[in-house]
């Protein structure tokens, strides 16, 4: 029962930010290294870890600097002058 609920809250790796994905990857690696996991869990964790690592890799490769501007207390898009 608690297992099912943690699975439900687990977001698709593709939806995670770099920090979220890396933090979860870190947890999974520590969990696997603590050698407490059941084999079935371990394999599930490993697959999840691989997905997270892939997500981080894609984000690092493809990241584009996001630039916004704040005017007063309003956050607006900022168009860089192309030169």
């Amino acid at each position: 029962m608690p297992k099912a609920s943690t699975k439900k809250t687990e977001k698709n790796a593709e939806e995670l930010s770099y920090e979220e994905a890396l933090a979860e990857l870190e947890q999974i690696v520590s969990a696997l290294e603590s050698e407490q996991s059941q084999l079935e869990d371990a394999i599930r964790l490993f697959e999840r870890g691989q997905a997270l690592a892939a997500r981080c890799g894609v984000l690092l490769e493809a990241a584009e600097l996001k630039v916004k501007q704040v005017v007063g207390d309003e956050v607006l898009a900022f168009e860089e002058e192309s030169e």
Binding site: L25, A53, V70, E83
Partner: protein
């Protein structure tokens, strides 16, 4: 002390050279004239190939011929032009061939810079005494910021340089720009507002930056309000104003000083994309090796369980049972054979005994067996036959018939 040019008793005539030399000595012995700042406007500016600079310094009522030798001219970081109001430092001397006195200049600065410098020093001393620049106030700059705030002009080269640097080093980061004029009279209040607006956006670090310029261009970053806003920023700040050699009070107030805007962007991203990729690689390796270890461990656990299982398996029991059966079978066979032999021996004895009892043996000794022919019954007593009855007599080597004749 008045020099006595024309002493009454002995009138004397001077040569031009001697007089000029005399005047020169007068000027050179005057301490004020040998170390003087003169303010005026440049005119008749001339920069011949020799590298020396010639100009006339003038104001509404007077003019002063001036020269700056090549050595000092090379150190000049100010482009002179006619009409420019300047302050010139140097000493007054005489150019004897033309009989003119002139200013031998060694430094030139724009008018007002001296006053600015005085103001800078006054403000710096005051804020320093307040503790605004104390090293204990400096906070560490986060190594891996998610959100970087930038206060600078939206159109300057400084912003472009910083964005390019951030793109190259850490494109994951989110940049929030608070655009503000960075020079002019409205710059200080705009800069203060921009710093405060950025703080409300809660970035991890704020960069306050501006490209290079003259001391007047950078002056907004020495404005007390701006310096106090930088010192009061809740977010750690990096100041990158001007060039390597430019220092503003904001540099002292910020948590970290960067020599240029580009350097500020670098200092704001101590961990770069490359570092993150390397970190990710170690996680991948650890992920794979820890899982492999776990699988290997499970495998060896499995094989040891398997061995235990085999040891406890009924197959082994069956085998030992089978052996017992074999053993029993062997023992059964042995006992049967023994019995058979026993029977055989018994049979042979009996046979011998039978042979001994055989009537044939008796017959051989001369006895005969008489049987009635009619019914085959053995005649053991006289009463068992009647006269005239047919009998058979068996002797050792055969039989013959006879008739009972009498009783």
């Amino acid at each position: 002390m008045q020099p006595s040019l024309f002493p009454e008793p002995t009138p004397q005539t001077y040569t031009v050279s001697k007089l000029t030399f005399f005047i020169r000595k007068l000027l050179e012995e005057n301490e004020t004239l040998q170390d003087v700042w003169v303010q005026g406007e440049i005119s008749n500016l001339s920069r011949p190939a020799s590298g020396h600079i010639y100009f006339t310094l003038k104001d509404a009522n007077a003019a002063l011929k001036s020269v700056m030798w090549k050595l000092s001219a090379q150190r000049l970081n100010l482009s002179l032009r006619d009409g420019m109001a300047v302050e010139v430092h140097g000493k007054i001397g005489i150019y004897e061939p033309q009989g003119v006195y002139q200013l031998y200049a060694d430094q030139i600065r724009p008018v007002g810079e001296g006053a600015l410098y005085q103001e800078f020093m006054r403000l710096k001393a005051m804020l320093e005494a307040e503790g605004l620049f104390d090293p204990e106030r400096k906070r560490p700059i986060p190594e891996l910021p998610h959100k970087i705030g930038i206060v600078t002009s939206a159109t300057g080269a400084a912003l472009r340089d910083m964005l390019n640097t951030l793109k190259r080093r850490l494109p994951l980061v989110e940049v929030i720009l608070a655009p503000s004029p960075v020079q002019g009279t409205e710059a200080p209040t705009a800069l203060v507002k921009a710093i405060q607006a950025l703080n409300r956006q809660k970035p991890d670090v704020i960069i306050i930056a501006r490209g290079g310029g003259s001391i007047e261009d950078l002056w907004a970053f020495n404005d007390e309000r701006v310096v106090r806003a930088v010192a009061g920023s809740q977010t750690p700040s990096i100041c990158g104003v001007g060039h390597e050699t430019d220092f503003t009070l904001c540099d002292f107030a910020a948590d970290l000083r960067a020599p240029t805007p580009t350097a500020a962007a670098e200092l704001a991203t101590q961990i770069t994309r490359l570092d993150l990729q390397a970190e990710l690689q170690t996680y991948k390796t650890r992920l794979a090796s820890s899982t492999l270890n776990l699988v290997a461990e499970q495998k060896s656990l499995l094989s040891s369980l398997n061995a235990q299982l085999r040891y406890l398996s009924p197959a082994r029991l069956i085998q030992s049972e089978r052996q017992r059966v074999d053993e029993l079978t062997r023992r059964a066979l042995m006992s049967v054979l023994y019995r058979v032999n026993l029977q055989k021996n018994h049979f042979e004895g009996t046979q011998k005994r039978l042979e001994a009892l055989s009537p044939l043996a008796v017959l051989a000794r001369g006895y005969a067996v008489v049987t009635r022919k009619a019914d085959g019954g053995v005649v053991a007593r006289v009463a068992e036959v009647k006269p005239g009855q047919q009998i058979q007599v068996r002797v050792a080597d055969g039989q013959f018939e006879a008739e009972v004749s009498d009783q």
